[in-house]
Amino acid sequence: MKESYREGVGTSVAEKQHITIKGVKDGLIFLLDDTCDFSVLLDELQFKLEKSHQQLLTGPIVHVQVKLGTRQVNEEEKERIKAAIRNQGNLLVQSIDSEARLEPKAEDGNNLKVLTGIIRSGQTLEHDGNLLLMGDLNPGGSLLCTGDIFVLGALRGLAHAGCKGKEDSIIAASLLRPTQLRICEVISRPPDEWMTGDAMMEFAYLSEGVMKIDKLTQLHRLRKLPAVFRA
């Protein structure tokens, strides 16, 4: 997508173009690059409007939609873009949009945070990404993660994995004896709903919107790209 923004404007090879102007049925769309510096963008906008694209600026009123890509701007910056365009009598800014920034994908093993300690009753740990806790999570304590939760110890409290909606999150523990488990929006209450007798490493996952428990050795079946090791 980003690449296509730059195409078509390539009048000069030496100077990178950051602004693409497209004509559509009901006006113009300004596609602004989202990787360059904001001041560069503003200078170029001014230059384009005043110097190189004079032909746009004559004639009836034209509606302009500004698309910022994934760049996030504040009100003041928005106003400066608007002002630059509005200065040319016949252009009317209709909207300034930016796409939501894509969350950096939390892949397995990537951005895994390792913590040592005990989460006791009344204590809460929140983490963005995957978390490995070396220690126990006690009853009354809670652990919230946007990604996976691994507990190298006893999980006796409340664990919530994928708390921002990552449905393939899992919760694994050396000893899985939680008061409550949550993955995304699904809540499960052992031992009312499930209970395992043997003290094996287990993990909880979502399968078609239902929480399931399995032995940790089965995890590779769930993950799309399990590692294969050479003999």
Binding site: R120, S121, Q123, P139, G140
Partner: protein, 263 residues
């Protein structure tokens, strides 16, 4: 310079005051100079358990508000020369004193005594913060009940935040219930709370009887709870004392009757 030890639990009714009174008395029994401080303002009990209620003239709040000097408020024990108690006020509230004031008092007491035992009120609010303010170490009391263990865990978390090292006393253990799996056992509790175990105290009717009589249980060596408290005090002084067995050794007659099936 002595050491200040706060006795706390989170939950009420697990035996903080009883433990304070008994540990304080046991340390005095071992020849230490001890002062017990009751910080449960508004619900003072330590004086009743110690049987010193009628000797109180001034209290903690009187000291804080400058109505008397600290050593004027100290109540000397009737059994030991070097055992004192600083009673709490019964008419005031926990918010009538600040953690800083308690800390200053404890600091002052530490100069004079080997051990300052601080009896903490139940809960984790102002009263708890007051009690913990001057403490160097903590003894967390719990009973083998889920609710008590949960609250003990919460309190240990709070103590860790203030970097006060804590040790555990498990109170009111009933051997027969543990044996039948009806009560949490010691290992389970220690696994969850993950702090050093200072001692275990068996449930004993004599504790209630002696508390009502205003006589700390430790004074009666025929009581198993008394031995447990004495062991705790010795461990606090650094002695290696093994945990007492939960089951009482059955006497010859008892074993014989059991053998016949009528015990």
């Amino acid at each position: 310079m002595g050491e200040a030890i706060v006795i706390t639990s989170g939950k009420g009714g697990v035996g903080k005051t009883t433990t304070s009174a008994n540990i304080g008395t046991a340390l005095a029994l071992l020849g230490k100079k001890v002062c017990m401080v009751d910080t449960d303002i508004g619900l003072r009990n330590l004086d009743v358990v110690m049987g010193l209620e009628n000797r109180i003239i001034y209290d903690l709040i009187d000291v804080a508000e400058g109505r008397c000097r600290l050593n004027q408020a100290l109540v000397k024990d009737k059994r030991f020369e070097e055992l004192y108690m600083l009673p709490a006020a019964q008419t005031k509230d926990k918010t009538d004193i600040s953690p800083e004031q308690v800390r200053d008092m404890v600091l002052e007491l530490k100069k004079e005594f080997d051990y300052v035992i601080i009896d903490c009120p139940a809960g984790i609010e102002q009263g708890f913060r007051n009690a913990v303010a001057g403490a160097d170490r903590a003894i967390v009391v719990t009973t083998p009940e889920n609710a008590a263990v949960r609250d003990a865990d919460r309190v240990i978390g709070l103590l860790e935040q203030t970097q006060i090292p804590a040790r555990l006393v498990i109170n009111r253990i009933r051997a027969n219930m543990v044996r039948n799996g009806e009560m949490l056992d010691i290992d389970e509790i220690c696994q969850v709370l993950a702090i050093d175990l200072l001692g275990i105290v068996p449930d004993d009717e004599k504790v209630i009887r002696s508390a009502n009589a205003g006589e700390p249980t430790v004074m009666d060596p025929s009581s198993r709870a008394a031995i447990a408290y004495r062991n705790i005090a010795r461990r606090m002084l650094g002695d290696m004392v093994p945990l007492m067995p939960l089951e009482e050794k059955a006497g010859v007659m008892k074993r014989f009757r059991k053998f016949l099936g009528i015990g």
